[in-house]
Amino acid sequence: MAQIFHRSANTLARVTIFGAVFAAGFVLWAIGGVVRSPYATDQGIEREQPVPFSHQHHVAGLGIDCRYCHTSVETSNFAGIPPTQTCMNCHSQIWTNAEMLEPVRASFATNKPIVWSRVHRLPDFVHFNHSIHVNKGIGCASCHGRIDKMALTYQASPLTMEWCLECHRAPEKFVRPRNEVFNMAYITEDQQSIGPKLVREYNIQKLTACSTCHY
């Protein structure tokens, strides 16, 4: 009986069998890449906002402290989004007729809140507390990046669990003195010696139990 398959089919079979391993590996690698990419994490994506608020202008240009608007960052899990009134503290005096600020004035006049697009969003099964991080010497910029250089706000970090754990496993690599927490431009050459010292001084724990964040 004649062979059904040509001899070359053997090679084809080998390539297929071994190739499948690589193919599977490639698929896993690709999935791993996609879930870490900005496509999945929203990292670096600027959101359209009802008012094109510029942190660059307010923080770097005018030198307003983070806490002027994000009032509860040191006391609560939520840093706080400023109420319209906070905007109007200044904008009832300056740029009172700017077209760009019309939604703010309308909100204040009609008592209807401004609906912002959320930039940093954690899944509902993760509980993050701003106050403890700020109090233990984690700078705003460590997670939020150079907000003072963002004309429109975007998410600087991937906010993946892998990324959280980088610091939770080794806080000494990221901790800074408490008085530098709100300093956007803080840089140190000497993290290797400052870090462990601050970890001791602030009694910082390496919290990696699941229930630290998931409950």
């Binding site: 009032t71 706080g80 319209t84 912002w116 959320r118 403890i132 602030y202 139990a209 699941c210 409950y215």
Partner: protein, 1050 residues
Amino acid sequence: MLDEKEKKDEGPGVGELQQVSTHSPHPSSLVPVSSPVSLDLATFRKRIGSEYWRSLNELSREDFEQVVETEFPQGALALDRGVDRRDFVKLMGASMALGGLAACNRPAEKIVPYVRQPEGLIPGKPIFFASAMPISGYAHGVLVESHMGRPTKIEGNPDHPSSLGATNAFMQASILGLYDPDRSQVVRRLGEISTYSDFLAALQPELKAATSNGAALRILTQTITSPTLGAQIQQVLAQFPGAKWHQWEAAGGHNVREGLRLAFGGYANAVYHFDKADIVVSLDSDALDRGPGHLRHARDFSSRRKVRKGTTSINRLYAIESGPTGIGSIADHRLAVKPSEVAMYARGIAVGLGLVPGVMTEWTGALVRDLQKNRGASIVVVGDEQPPAVHALAMAINQALGNIGSTITITDPVEVAPVNQIDSLRQLVADMNAGAVRTLVMIGGNPVYDAPSDLAFVKAMDKVPFRAHLSPYYDETSMHVHWHIPETHYLESWSDARSHDGSISIIQPLIAPLYNGRSAHELFGALLGGMDQSPYDVVRDYWTAKAGPLNFNNTWRKWLNDGVIAGTALPARNAGGTPAVPGTTDNRQPTTSAYELRILPDPNVYDGRFANNGWLQELPKPQTKITWENVALISPKTAVAIGYGDKRRDELVNEKQTLIANIRYRGQTLRTPIWVVPGHADGTITMFLGYGRTRGGKLASPAEAHSMLAPELAPFHLAGLTMGVDLAPFRFADALHGGAGAEIELTTDGPYAVACTQEHQSLNVADVGEDRGIIRSATFAEYLVKPDFAKEHKREEEQSKESMYPGFEYKSHAWAMVIDTSVCTGCNGCVVACQSENNIPIVGKEQVVAEREMHWLRIDRYYRGDPENPEVFHQPVPCMQCETAPCEPVCPVGATSHSGEGLNDMTYNRCVGTRYCSNNCPYKVRRFNFFHYSDYETPALKAHRNPDVTVRTRGVMEKCTYCVQRINAAKINAEKDGPQGRRVRDGEVVTACQQACPTNAIVFGDMNDPTSLVASLKAEPTNYALLAELNTRPRTTYLGAIRNPNPEIK
């Protein structure tokens, strides 16, 4: 005709009673040694190896273990059809396709700040406000947790005399009641949607008519203790001379009220101080679980009950009652007697004290001697179902024992205008029938459903030309009125109320009315013509006038802050003098042949007002563990007598099915499922109010939900189109709580499925074939001799110090819990508190039948001794947080893991639903979301959830976390305190169950802190762990139950 009836029923004279009490059954004769039921305790013990048992089936059924075992795998049968190749490919294909969808980008989310942020509000931080929940008119102080304006959790107010920080199931569940989407949301005129202003316009001519003929205006309310509301009603009565005010509340403490009047010649209020009592005698009362002040009673009672190192004496409790109650379940001596026989025991005590002539039994003699030894330090308390004469007699007994003025304070009545509510309602019905009522305004209540049926309330009411009803639900009464007005929840409107000792609380709202509700104050405002007055103004104006305007603002703010007005408890009164000894104690003849019917408010839905609350509906009832309906309770002996013995029951699925019986009473018949309860009185049938509703929400009345149910759920609920049985035919004005002359006849109808959780998540599966030492108890005398009795268990020796697991080091905290089984009454406060705190969903009756209820904390009930009157033990079982947890190593995805503080963390987002952990948990504390139980759709229900806890979805395992969200919050607080932070102090973390517990039975804390309370309890000799022989090293441990029987009584 009624008069004739009363005469006929008049009880025997003193002489006759004497005779009766001579013949009164000796307790030992009530509990025959060889019961006719085929229950041989000795054989049973041999078979099981334990003297503790959980259900009658366990006693009677040889193959019990197999039955439990075969039923155990939750939903194992659901897959019996198997999956063929085609289905498999289909499912996989669909999963792949949908899986792709799920990975799409997250939808954009909006964030909405305030325009003007309220002062003092920190986004993300809850604020607590003091308020009070009125139950049957009486205030129960609460602290309400509010997240950004949304009330989410109820806690007890530690400063409030009725709460002292404790809460009951009703208070906890009231948060769900607030958001209940089934609450009435619109004003209705003859059932059609209308407006409040139309109602006011329609009311005007009625008021004009009432000005000339006030008698035509009638107001019907429930029990009222609110001083402001009382004043408003008085104003209405003054403005419309001749107008009358009637009060009616189905479970309103009628006999307590009348009994005190009988004793003191006028209405009074009795405040019990259980913390001062060495001896407590409960005569058919439920003093720790029901009625005004029950939380305080439980707290006070338990303070004298706890055995710690150095305790030299504890109190003693005698309970003589007809059915199982919370107080009876922790009694040292308990008798189960017919309701009518309770009076004879009261009489017997009176005989012993020389108050009345007669003879008493040996048992009563021992009790009396015990009382006499503790003069001025005892309490005799009577339940609401006993007739007034028994209450009066008990007061005379208390007086003779010197208790009044020491353990009992008699004060003026707390209610604004106490009346005999039955007479009040009867009068109203007579007037309506006579056509004398032109306008009827009903403030709350649901008389069409709960008025005694012989009064024919609806028929009479239908003759009234103008009827208005203020109520939270569009209920049975609302359907029969011209105008229905939605009523506000107590968290939505201003008011005030008094507590059991008279202390006044201002009820402050947490949120504006969600569903356009109006409060009683507004409606009375409308009657008075001051329509624009807000409830806030009404209440504040009343108190401004009372307290004087000087500095009132500060005073007012202090009242609101404290949740109670200091110094407003009613003073003890001297007037009234010695309580009179009533001539006869009972107008009911003790009977032997026919059955006695007992009608009680349901422990979960009360008189029906909580019937639409899913948390309460699904709550296993404290003593029977039945959910979602009411059944008629009978004793094992009665069951045999009607042909429902063990054999008959063994044909049914164990503790899940029953048969239907016909119960006849005064010519009426009801078909109801029956349930055999150990410790129930023979010849007595107990039935519960509050079910069989035809209106009032989708849960209260499945008929209303008919069109809304998913088709696969429908058949289960719609068996009879009502849930449970409406007792209306059995409710008569002259016998509100039932009476003699009932008959019961077993039918062959059935099997009827009952959602009873008694044998769910059972620890006692006899895979070890012997006693596992789950409950350990001793008498106080035994404890004094051998304090470490709980450690004596033979299973304890098998505990090994070695483990295959690497040891964990707990450097900082080691969270632990100790539960004192001596004082747990099984009241369920903790279960609902846990449900509220942790966003635990309800699953519905058919899922409960499938053993899929989601409560993280269950209360196991065990019996010991004769099934006719066994001892009862309650054991709350949360997650044990084992140090070497069997659940952890079997999880293939690492969704459950060990934390450095000893918690078994459950990470929902990792869980893929293998259920291996649950299978491997010897304590059966893990719960699985078989379906999408959490309601993600209903907008109103989104608001009530605790934002600090993840809402779980289908396919995810969950379990008790020791309220890790509270632990983390406390830790963060402590860490922020000072430059270095500090350790969490003892008492800073309070779990939800611990906070709710009226008896302080649950203690939580850091075991590594040697000064903590939990560490000291762990060192108690009575401390023991469940299934310690498995070497799981549970963090949750128990203190052995200690009872204090009278050595004179064998």
